[in-house]
């Protein structure tokens, strides 16, 4: 049973990134009155990139070529730890959320380093912004996990998110927790209002500017990893709000998770259609606000679990 669930998890984690990017783009196109690209457009793009030979900058070192694969491998490891279906994950052990956060941290470090490696001012700027945003948002996940620990008494990531809905604090904290995870998604997967994936001005890019000199299979790995990160955070939201017990009724739980992830994709698309990106100087404030919201969740969770 758990092997089957693990296989389902892996299958969803591997295919959903393509679909989710398609859904976001389709939503944006529809709201702009266009038809938009097909849902699997990213897959075709990746296939095209994989068949190309890479072009490396004359300034770059071997670290640049390896960077993309470190990013991909670390993001895949994080996807195996992250619960996206509910109370289950292929790699599940006590305090696995630390591995999750730090594997993504390793991916980010190599993303930033390979940006610095080509000696471009634009890419250095993007790396500095990425680092700054991470500093602002990194505590948020741990505040949320602290709140979930108080509510559930679990120690694994899957247990924390998958069983939170049983706790008395859940009705109070579900909305702010989802909001914090949504802000984390925007920051980690480089979506509006934190970063605009479709901007064409190097001075204002964050994630895309770091990919400027990547090409061929390396660029494919980087793009897939970014989509994977969006999938992971959409999955975390899905498993937080999933009311079904994955072991009791697996089918409705998996279905609910899929629908929620698609819903998160539509929500991301709607947000991107409705608002413009923030001024870059305001973004850290937005992310700190998300961290403070998460801290407030921790405080409220403590206050609620104080009462029997």
């Amino acid at each position: 049973m758990s092997a089957l669930l693990g296989a389902v998890h892996i299958a969803i984690a591997l295919t959903m990134p393509v679909l989710l990017v398609g859904i976001v783009n389709r939503t944006k196109a529809r709201s702009a009155g266009r038809k938009g690209p097909g849902l699997a457009q990213l897959a075709w793009d990746l296939r095209r990139l994989l068949m190309k030979a890479p072009v490396y900058s004359t300034t770059s070192s071997p670290l640049f070529a390896a960077g993309a694969w470190v990013v991909l491998a670390a993001s895949l490891l994080a996807a195996l730890v992250a619960p996206i279906l509910g109370d289950s994950a292929p790699l599940r052990f006590d305090y696995d959320f630390i591995l999750f956060a730090y594997a993504l941290g390793l991916a980010r470090l190599f993303l930033m380093l390979s940006a610095m490696d080509v000696g471009s001012a634009f890419e250095g700027m993007g790396a500095a912004r990425e680092g700054l945003f991470t500093v602002a948002i990194e505590p948020a996940l741990f505040f949320l996990i602290g709140a979930a620990t108080l509510a559930t008494g679990q120690a694994s990531f899957a247990g924390l998110l998958g069983q939170w809905h049983h706790a008395t604090s859940f009705p109070w904290l579900a909305v702010p927790a989802v909001a914090v995870l949504f802000a984390l998604l925007q920051a980690e997967a480089a979506r509006l209002p934190v970063d605009d994936p479709q901007t064409h001005l190097e001075l204002t890019m964050v994630h895309e500017v770091m990919l400027l000199d990547h090409s061929g299979p390396g660029l494919a790995a980087m793009q897939y990893a970014a989509a994977l990160k969006m999938t992971i955070y959409a999955g975390l939201i899905a498993s937080l709000v999933n009311p079904f017990d994955l072991r009791g009724n697996p089918a409705p739980a998996v279905l609910f998770a899929l629908v929620t992830m698609v819903g998160v994709g539509v929500a991301v698309g709607c947000v991107e259609s409705l608002i413009a990106r923030m001024r870059l100087r305001a973004v850290p404030g937005y992310l700190v606000l998300a961290s403070l919201t998460a801290a407030a969740c921790l405080g409220v969770a403590g206050w609620l679990s104080r009462m029997p």
Binding site: A53, V55, Y56, S57, T58, T59, S60, S61, L63, A65, W69, V70, L72, A73, L77, L91, F93, D94, Y95, I98, L99, Y102, A103, L106, L109, M112, M116, D117, V118, G119, S120, A121, F122, G124, M125, A127, A128, G131, L132, T134, V135, E138, P139, L141, F142, F143, I145, G146, A147, L150, G153, A155, P217, A221, P284, A295, L298, G302, S305, R306
Partner: protein, 667 residues
Amino acid sequence: MGALIAAVVVLLLGAAACLLPVANRVRVACGLVSQTLATALVLTAVVPVLLGGVPVAGELPWAYPMGTMRVRLDALGAFFLVWSMPLTLLGSIYAVGYFRAYFDSPRHLGWHFALFNLTSLSFVLVYPGDHALLFLLGWETAAIAAWLLVIWDYTNQKVRFAGFNYLVSTHLGLIFIVAAFMVLYAHTLSWDLLSFGDWLRSHPGAERNLVFLLLVTSFALKSAFFPFHSWLPRAHAAAPAHVSALMSGVIHKAGLYALVRVLLLIGTPDAWMGWFLVGFSVLSAVIGALYTVGQRDLKRLLGYSSTENVGIAGIGFGVGCLGLAWHSAPLVALGFAGGLLHVLNHAFFKCQLFYAAGAVYRAVHTVDVERLGGLLRLMPWTALSFLLGGVAISGLPPLNGFTSEFVIYSGLFSGEPIGVWARVALAVGAAALAFVGAVSAFSITRAFGVVFLGRARDPSVPVGHEMNGWMLVPMAVHGVAVVLLGVMPFLGFALVREATSLALTTLPGAGTGVLPRLEAALTRVGLMSGALVLAVAALVWFFRRASSRPAAASATWGCGYDAPTARMQYTGSSFSADLQSRVGGVVLTMRRLKAPTGYFPVDSYLLTACVDAVERRLFAVIANGDASANELSGALREDDPRIAFAAALIAVVIMAGLVVPVGGALQ
């Protein structure tokens, strides 16, 4: 016991041989041989203790006032000795390469290597010592030796200043420790640490709290916790690289050893002590990390990251202390094992980073990040070494920094029944630790990215070249250790296991079963890290094989402009400017600006420097002390009746305050 005494004798004889009037090569050889021999001797005594054997104990009769000197090498001391001695030896080997240019000069190299012997000697005195005066002797030997090692380049006034700054700070710490020992001696009439422990265990209350605070202040000065760190960035920037490495990674760990020793002596500390340690350490970690962000001097940056990392280890010890107070075996095990593992890991990756920085200094004669760039192509092994150390110090998998931070996080999220608000507070500590990790990754990206990646920024800096084997071998050993301890964390755990169970023995149930669970968890973490390494290797290998066409080369994308100069690269200052401006209240940035004026400006400049807020405040008080007192007295008018009234009131209150406790309440 015999091995330890033999090691002391060998080290002293070796130090003496270093000073003989022979060629520098012979002196250095004497130093290295005696250190190797002493290290081997100490290891023969230490390894059985670490494997669970009985502590090495012995007595040496000595004259008044020392009295009988008791030596008792238990698992805690053994843990610190087992890596301190070999790492000091590696540092001495590195020093051979670092000082190669001086071998045929008239400069006396023997002193420097004799001081390494004395440093090792101080470990043999401090870690197994069960006698307060013996402990102080070792403590002081390490301080003096480190000071003399720092001022190697003594003709430079800045280096002398940094040395004296360190000497004053370390002796301020000595005053606190002596005060604490005087209080303890007054009560026990003994210099034995064990009898100190008996008294501390049986007399909770104000005096024990005072002793605890005195000792923690002293140890914090030794290990450079915030706000007692102001000597550290100067000393690390001024000293030769291997001395900075040994001070930061090895010598000043004695402060943390002493902290753990005192906690174990107290046995059941009060909970406030644990909270105090956790809060103090979180503050240290956060502020140390923020200070690494804007530093231009690579070694100064690494110095601040020591403040950060002792903070991280201190969080672990604080959690362990809370566990001792609340009799919670998982908290004790996770806290102490995590803290000790972090001490071990930090020794490996911090020395490695300093060695790499020293190699950069030797190659290009500067460690100012703004003037460097593109060193990876010229010094690939040094760059790899710095990268490994950097990933490890950011606490990222698959290297060793991750394993110890994993254990410390587990302690913070332990889920033990310790009360809701305690769990909330520890979760806040975990979030702070996550913040520290992000900041540390930021500044390591900046340091590595600016110094080793891109292209050389300043044509006036010499072209870099790879170092000689004497310097590369210690870096390689550290690199291998950082990887091995990351993917096989049970190796590190084997060293801390007995020391942790020493802490567990003070609990009623002795916490059986906690350690095997922890070991299993660490093994799993190592497996994950190993899988990550293999996955990266497989992906790189596969796509290199699969690509049929060779990679093409082209200029970096510059918005269509393809003749950029190296000066157009992003600088370290620009990288950190935004973050620095947002934490300007904590991290001071000095700006000196002469704005350009007129149509053809000639001399305009902007200088920025990240200065230490604590040090500036300290010097401001010293410099303006008289002035501020004068201002105060100028503001008070003598003939103001309110002053006379207030003075009389204060006098009455003080007199009443003296009378009431002595004579009881007034009738």
